[in-house]
């Protein structure tokens, strides 16, 4: 293709966007509104998934030591636990600290129950709080920690707890949230693609006659296709830029606005930086690709003249 022909196609493609004013508007706004909805859900699902992950990260293993375990052994056990793959953090909780935590859990209302347990009267044992890299591995890690007991007598570790039952239930819920979220986004993406290409098809079907005239005048298929290609890309860019800008600034504003309110609930939205250009870039990309793809498949139908 000669350069001047390419230039012509670019010019014609852009001109066609203007010439088909109403139709272009319909296509671009279908792209814009579909991608906007998709974007909103993408942000929503990402935030919900993030919350789910934060929830999962609260999972920890409590390792209760026997009262009789001497301090040196405590250090060696801590060392051994630290060597288990997947363990990310170990915190030693002395029995005094344990009592304080218990007090907190009981609340004002019942805290007089444990009155008089301070100092030597403390019935609790020392313990470790172990965090794992990957919450899903918590069971395996707990098993390995228990294995430290083997061959030692008396066994220094009295009990290894990680909220059995509760943890599985939580994972089931967070998994469900994730699957539903991903399912919704994928479903919406396909819906958006269908609706957009449907709209583009409709605008092009009304130009079927035009295409056949071009062919009868001696235009080759690529010659006819190129301006449609450019037109589709233009519509995609216009249609995708609007929701991307609205979401970028709108989401930024929401994050800022809700910081105080949500902060009270210990929640936090993902920042615009965390969402990053991945999301906005892919929306833009999807828009342009569907624009081009929609035009191309629709035009192809009418090229067989």
């Amino acid at each position: 293709m000669k350069f001047r022909t390419l230039a012509r196609h670019l010019r014609e493609g852009c001109l066609n966007v203007i010439r088909n004013g109403w139709m272009s508007f319909a296509s671009a706004s279908a792209i814009a509104i579909s991608l906007f909805v998709l974007g909103v859900f993408l942000l929503l699902v990402m935030n919900v998934n993030n919350l789910a992950s934060e929830l999962e990260n609260t999972v920890e293993i409590r390792v209760h030591l026997d009262v009789v375990v001497p301090e040196e052994q405590i250090a060696s056990i801590q060392n051994e636990i630290g060597k288990i793959p997947g363990v990310s953090k170990i915190t030693f909780v002395s029995k005094e600290e344990g009592l304080d935590l218990l007090k907190e859990r009981l609340g004002e209302e019942n805290e007089d129950i444990i009155e008089g347990y301070e100092g030597d009267q403390n019935p609790l044992n020392d313990s470790f709080t172990v965090k794992v890299d990957e919450p899903r591995n918590v069971e395996a890690v707990a098993g390995q920690i228990e294995a430290i007991n083997s061959g030692q007598s008396p066994p220094p570790i009295v009990k290894v707890q990680y909220g059995e039952g509760y943890v599985e239930k939580m994972f089931a819920v967070t998994n469900m949230i994730r699957y539903v979220g991903i399912g919704l986004v994928i479903g919406l993406a396909f819906t958006a693609m269908f609706l957009i290409s449907n709209t583009i098809k409709l605008t092009i079907i009304s130009r079927r006659r035009e295409i056949s005239i071009m062919k009868l005048v001696g235009a080759t298929n690529p010659f006819i296709r190129w301006p449609f290609f450019v037109e589709g890309a233009m519509l995609g860019i216009i249609g995708a830029a609007i929701p991307v800008l609205v979401l970028y600034f709108g989401y930024g504003a929401i994050v800022e606005q809700s910081q105080v309110e949500l902060g009270l609930m210990m929640l936090q939205l993902l920042s615009v930086d965390q969402i990053g250009w991945k999301v906005f870039g892919s929306l833009l990309g999807i828009g342009v690709l569907i624009g081009i793809w929609g035009s191309m498949i629709s035009v192809r139908k009418f090229l067989k003249v």
């Binding site: 001047r4 088909n20 005048v217 001696g218 080759t220 003249v305």
Partner: protein
């Protein structure tokens, strides 16, 4: 140049449009195609630029065997054929100028040449003043002249003209006929369907009469021949 061998054509809905048509049109001939309404004249011409395919038979145009032509090659056959459609077929979103220049852009002519030649042709059909109008802003005759301009702009080796003066007054028609005659004189084959007795009888050329889908008369320097 154009040759048909025992060509038959039935439309998909079953309408028989042509039967047993065999004809040979040489380079530089000027052929009138006449016949009653619905006789098959337009169908005959559509076969030449391959808007329609024959149901049976062989067609050769400019050395191409249309039946054996790859889909991809068709545009190149059409580029040597200028067609004036009975229903004009202008691109509705393009101006008169753009409609005509489109045919030149298709063959990737240089921009400057496109501009020069397009204005030249619009001048020939007396439409320079309507260059920036859209087809919907033209009178019937102006639309027809735009279609004529588009057909001749590329100096094709064959011109297929389907009723090119149907919407023109006798004076303008005469102008267009002089133009076509001159183009023919310069070496272009012209096949023209017409109902205009005056033109056929005053500008004597080969006359092919089609009736009921078959050629019933084919004479050199013939006349229109149907009496009221």
């Amino acid at each position: 140049m154009i040759e048909m061998q025992d060509v038959w054509k039935a439309y998909p809905d079953g309408t028989p449009a042509l039967r047993e048509v065999s004809i040979k049109i040489d380079r530089n001939e000027f052929v009138y195609v006449v016949g009653p309404s619905g006789a098959g004249k337009s169908t005959f011409m559509k076969l030449i630029y391959r808007e329609e395919k024959p149901s049976k038979g062989q067609i050769f145009v400019n050395g191409f065997h249309l039946g054996k032509l790859k889909q991809r090659k068709i545009p190149f056959v059409r580029r040597n054929i200028g067609v004036i459609f009975q229903d004009f077929r202008l691109l509705p979103q393009l101006t008169v100028y753009e409609n005509v220049s489109f045919a030149m852009e298709v063959i990737e002519a240089p921009k400057k040449q496109i501009k020069k030649r397009t204005m030249e042709v619009l001048d020939l059909v007396k439409l320079k003043h309507k260059a920036d109008s859209l087809p919907s802003q033209l009178s019937g005759g102006e639309q027809q002249r735009t279609a004529i301009a588009r057909a001749i702009v590329n100096n094709p080796s064959v011109i297929i003209a389907d009723e090119p003066t149907g919407n023109l007054d006798p004076e303008t028609s005469a102008g267009i006929m002089r133009l076509l005659e001159e183009i023919n004189f310069r070496g272009t084959t012209i096949v023209m369907a017409t109902h205009n007795r005056d033109i056929v009888n005053s500008m004597r050329k080969r006359v092919v009469a089609i009736e009921g889908g078959t050629i019933v008369r084919d004479e050199q320097r013939g006349e229109y021949g149907y009496e009221i």
